[in-house]
Symmetry: C2
Subunit: 273 residues, 2 copies
């Protein structure tokens, strides 16, 4: 069962294989295609997915898997995004040159470096996503939340108090130091890093509204939150969100358990400093 082709689609050059129902890690790949306006098919056929995972060489550990126009398959979200970035114009102005052959050595080096910096920022934003997941599943993905709730309460406390602010400060600093644009992580064009950060912030706002609200008060992370708003309204993403095709958060990576957001007790102080 594949999802119906959407309006951007003419042919189906890329097929994204992912579980149905949740945004999950597949969403990071979807956002890249949606922003770029490049057609893709969103396949949620679990049986085909499991078969593909194991039948190809090399094997794939987990979805998302991207089936390329030539039938080859690539998995691991950061690997997919780094592969696609220059093709979709999301690797930075210089990084995007790598869509074609870059003959000049210095120019190619600059392009490879910018593409790598985008990759670096994508990886850090995805690390934050993993920590958000582990805040409700600190013991095992194979167990229900209810079976690790006590540990989750402890882990979420540290995540909210120390980790979220540390990551947000890192991205705020990166935006602040970008001399050509304070609303882009790299250069002055939207990259996969901006799109991934957008979705992670969106997930944190969904999962931890109380804590994110408290962190927002001092204006310490204003550029990060502004980037989130900006991407939400940008061409490609705006249409995607309004189309209703964008999957809602629920019981995936980002989950809203009020008790983990510190709503039950006021142990987490708002940022002072």
């Amino acid at each position: 069962m594949s999802s119906p082709p959407h309006k951007l689609q003419k042919l189906a050059p890329y097929i994204l294989h992912y579980w149905g129902g949740i945004p999950g890690r597949g969403e990071y790949v979807r956002l890249a295609f949606e922003y770029a306006g490049v057609s893709y098919t969103d396949s949620n056929d679990s049986a085909k997915l499991l078969k593909t995972l194991r039948s190809t060489s090399p094997s794939h550990f987990a979805p998302p898997m991207l089936e390329l126009p030539n039938g080859k398959i690539l998995s691991q979200t950061p690997a997919i995004l780094n592969y696609l970035a220059p093709k979709l114009g999301l690797a930075g102005e210089k990084g995007n040159l790598l869509k074609n052959a870059v003959e000049d050595d210095d120019e190619r080096e600059e392009a490879e470096f910018e593409r790598s910096i985008v990759n670096q920022l994508v990886l850090t934003a995805l690390d934050l996503c993993v920590e958000a997941h582990d805040s409700h599943h600190p013991i095992a993905s194979s167990l229900y939340y209810e079976d690790q709730k006590q540990e989750a309460l402890r882990r979420a406390e540290d995540f909210l108090k120390l980790r979220i602010p540390k990551y947000l400060a890192h991205f705020e600093e990166t935006l602040r130091k970008n001399k050509v644009s304070h609303s882009h992580l790299v250069g002055k064009t939207t990259t996969t890093a901006d799109l991934v950060l957008f979705h992670v912030v969106d997930g944190l706002l969904y999962a931890f509204p109380r804590r994110m609200g408290a962190l927002d008060k001092g204006g310490k992370y204003k550029r990060v939150l502004k980037l989130h708003e900006k991407i939400m309204a940008e061409g490609g993403i705006k249409e995607y969100v309004e189309s209703g095709r964008r999957r809602k958060f629920g019981v995936g990576l980002f989950r809203h358990y009020p008790e983990l957001d510190g709503e039950d007790e006021d142990t987490i102080e708002p940022e002072k400093e």
Copy 2:
């Protein structure tokens, strides 16, 4: 305080900034240089490291950071390895072509894909490394092991029982399916994926000797364990290990706590199947 230059070194084109004392994530970058025989300086100057983390644009979230010959800095282990791979001849036979400009579109696409597959496998092996770390620190990196030991016992049980076998099976399958070589993850040349898997397996053997011994008995993961032995004896790595420069495991990512390895109680059954 920098570590003394080692025998491979003539100039110092690359500088690896990392914490002193532990192999850590810096080791994955060291192994790439050591295997390739390319000189690098291993800088453990904490003060300089912290300053560099924040003074550059973009900011870097954490070490390792690689300072390039041109002075630019890149962080995030998988981003560093993907950047270096074609330059060091560790991106697969086709992937390595990307060291230079590849004019033919089809050839460049094949090269980009192979480099991406290497990246994919690196990322999965590093995910296993993160889970190994979280088995002793399931609640917070900011707390001591002793302060999260109860939770660690629970997480390690799942990690040993389900996660290690799942990852090892994935890599075993990848080696088995490689038509041109059962001792390389991609093609028939050593890539960053082989080197990362080597170190992760080395870390697991150090941290969980009892469990890894039990898993070894059925021969289910023989190709993975053979790859580990092969890399240990390979040119570049052999000299590195014998030189004594390779840092020992201790209280870093991979830790040997007998109680987490199930030595106290025999709850974890050996593999049957």
